[in-house]
């Protein structure tokens, strides 16, 4: 989609606003948006995850010795750089290959890294019934949270368990 202002450059900023009681969306390129005084989210983010990914890139060198940005997932060949550009991972194995930065990203995106929903039992192909085993899962996660001194998560899990029991 091209910019509604200059009709030349690609529109990268989509501004929803209310004008004369109508909700309208303006599609602008970065330059025209800046002229209109609309704050640009910055040059790097190309995806909805942009900010997170950009932040992740900055922190990577200090925080995570393995894998380095240039390393590739052994299963699909994708790299963190590919992920930053497309916002998408190449395969399920990427979650293992890039576990450290992804764990950090998941925490920032969702406020947690622990799946608390229905569990898929591989092999048998059946679901664990959602009620009782779920409490067991929560207890296990609570134990882990206490062990790793993640008290915020522990308190949250304790509250959930209280509601269930």
């Amino acid at each position: 989609m091209s910019c509604e202002q200059c009709r030349e450059r690609e529109a990268v900023i989509h501004l929803t606003q209310i004008v004369n009681e109508q909700v309208t969306t303006l599609h602008l390129c970065e330059l025209c948006a800046a002229e209109k005084g609309v704050e640009s989210p910055g040059a790097s983010p190309k995806t909805p995850l942009g900010t997170f990914l950009a932040a992740m890139g900055q922190e990577l060198p200090e925080q995570t010795p393995v894998p380095r940005t240039g390393d590739n997932c052994p299963r699909c060949g994708g790299s963190l750089q590919d992920f930053r550009e497309s916002g998408r991972l190449g395969c399920s194995e990427c979650y293992r290959s890039f576990e450290v930065p992804l764990r950090d990203l998941l925490r920032r995106l969702h406020g947690s890294t622990h799946h608390l929903g229905e569990r898929y039992a591989e092999g048998s192909g059946s679901f664990a019934p959602p009620d009782r085993p779920r409490a067991t899962d929560l207890r296990e996660q609570l134990r882990l949270a206490v062990e790793t001194e993640n008290f915020e998560l522990a308190a949250e899990l304790r509250d959930r368990l209280r509601v269930m029991e």
């Binding site: 989609m1 690609e10 989509h14 929803t16 209310i18 009681e21 109508q22 909700v23 969306t25 909805p48 995850l49 299963r75 699909c76 060949g77 994708g78 497309s86 916002g87 998408r88 991972l89 190449g90 395969c91 399920s92 979650y95 992804l102 990203l105 998941l106 995106l109 969702h110 406020g111 947690s112 890294t113 622990h114 799946h115 608390l116 929903g117 229905e118 569990r119 898929y120 591989e122 092999g123 192909g125 059946s126 679901f127 959602p130 779920r134």
Partner: protein, 360 residues
Amino acid sequence: MIDLSLLTDGGVGWLDASGPSSHLVLSTRIRLARNLAGRVYQGRNSESEREDILQTVEAAARDTVLLRRAIKFRLDRLDRNDRQLLHERHLVSKELAGLDADGRVRSGASLLVQDRLGVMLNEEDHLRLQGLHSGFALDAAYAEVDRLDAELGQRLAFAFHSEFGYLTSCPTNVGTGLRASVLIHLPGLVLTKEISKVLQGLAQVGLTFRGLYGEGSEVVGNFFQLSNQTTLGSSEFELLDHLGKMVRQVMDYEEQARQVLLRDAPAIIEDKVWRAYGLLRYARALSFEEAMNLLSGVRLGVGVDLIPDVGMYTLNKLLVYTQPAHLAASEGIAPADPDLPVRRAQFVRKVLESEVGRRG
């Protein structure tokens, strides 16, 4: 052209306005993202791998109760108008329909659909299970998609991580893979200029909004799609419960805003909704956007009992059938035909006239 009459209800059962709170909520949608274990995701796989995924999932689906009689649409073998038609019916995403900026359809991009349930194949994730219900019906819609998930999960190996849950191509969907969204009409909040505050409030409690056609789409006709932002760290029940509570609150705000408008500016509101009705009834050319905005005005008028002769079902029908691909298909012209606004106005006039006639 594709024959959508093959679908029991044309795939638009959700617009019959039969669901709960359908004066405010058009539809409720549930989507679950799933990937097959051990297979590379869409962004890095090959044409033959996508074909294999399609065959594997279709074979599994034909073995289920819920998708045994599913109609299959291969988006990669349909022309642009037909793909747009499916997109306008909210059956496929913009990405799957190849209506994004690059306009290319991925090979293997397909849809299996039966009644209110469907599976998009070779979308961003291998499978996107979805269910679409009329009105505000989170629990019913989820229960159905959940049953389909269980049926497919018994026949396919899904990528699942003991800590992260269901693995998805984009980390924003990981965990439950659940996106629940409610398409709600909020003209009262827009008119009273309360909408930004409400939307900001929703963002603070982990919810997000999109336009009429979901991700990346604009808000038209005061329709907002409200949905959960996070998918990990809460159970499906908690996510649905939270969204449900917040939507109920937004519905209350909307009702209050309408009351305020009727109390403080009755003449303005009455003029506004009848003016919208008048334009729809007599205009000779209507752009899609104008039609959407006028329909929004009439919908408000019907909602606050100012306009008695129009049903919600009629308004929903107009909403769907005045969209470019739908209108073009029924009129037998191209969606880019310059005559489209004239045909749109004709169509709207005809529907409204027959509605009034029918009601005497």
